[in-house]
Symmetry: C2
């Protein structure tokens, strides 16, 4: 998606270790008019699939997910991160390893909001190692719901998450796909 | 706001200890079409005040804030919760006490996104003891920005936050104001 790629080139900042910071428009300050254009693109890609629920993960996926949900006319559920093991039987839970923070956390979603009849689109801001996305897919599978696909704002295609999950048959649509960070600049592909 | 009050009566669940659960439409599963109506009401209340930035706090404020920001045509910033003391000088920080969890955490916002010229509307899903709202107001003050007011989805008016902050001159507009929880049912006022 050209608009997003141009915005990344204009306002993204590449830090040491190839970390791309997009917190001026995507995940700290949020440009909701850009999100509106992204939502249109997700709708174009996934319309006609009968999607009735959007699943995301707190915190930075929530804004994009909500504005995308307006396009689909469906609700959003966000999986919550928790460090306390939930012993109640009323949630689906999955373990996620954070490579950024070197920690592991559980994500949970209430069973009452993810149902076998649901056709689910996962929305998130980033895809890199794919740990969060795998965790979300696991929640969808545990619920017996149908996963239609995942809509991602920015995929770091030089990290293994996208390839790994596509090879398992997951449909992933990333609006900006960074194939390398040459000389401190994202290169799309 | 009648639509929200009716929805609370229909889908809200009152748990032991007077806890109101609205996670089927507000803060776990999110009804974005309801959020759209709430956004219109916030816009009606605060239009003409020159608001150019909406500030909220992760996680459950983000959805309402983003959809409200569409009405105002401005970006959202969300304050991040953190347990690690941030020693870098590039963020404003404030301490928030969580009465629900019996813990204290820091909230931070990057200095580059909250500026002295900004006219800020704070949006959040709940107001009870007012700790989170006080923390957000403190960030706005630290930045030297102007606080126009706070738009809250549900205020528990039988808890002290709203009164305390209004008496300090903060304009707070709550779309549903619960004055008591008699017999396990919210009473609005």
């Amino acid at each position: 998606m050209q608009l997003l790629e141009e915005r990344i080139l204009k306002d993204g900042k590449v830090k040491d270790g190839g970390i791309l910071k997009v917190d001026s428009f995507l995940n700290h300050q949020m440009d909701v008019s850009l999100f509106g254009e992204m939502a249109k693109e997700f709708y174009r890609l996934f319309a006609g699939e009968g999607i009735n629920k959007i699943l995301t993960i707190e915190a930075s996926g929530i804004g994009i997910a909500c504005i995308t949900a307006q396009a689909f006319g469906c609700p959003v559920i966000f999986a919550k991160k928790t460090k306390t093991k939930n012993i109640a039987g009323d949630v689906y839970t999955s373990k996620v390893e954070s490579f950024t923070h070197g920690t592991t956390y559980d994500i949970i979603v209430s069973k009452e909001f993810l149902l076998p009849d649901d056709k689910v689109l996962i929305i998130d801001d980033f895809l890199a190692n794919g740990a969060a996305l795998e965790g979300l897919i696991s929640l969808v599978n545990d619920a017996g719901a149908s996963l239609i696909g995942a809509g991602i704002a920015i995929e770091k295609a030089f990290q293994p998450g996208g390839e790994k999950l596509r090879s398992k048959g997951v449909r992933i649509e990333s609006l900006a796909k960074i194939k390398s960070m040459e000389g401190g600049k994202p290169v799309f592909g």
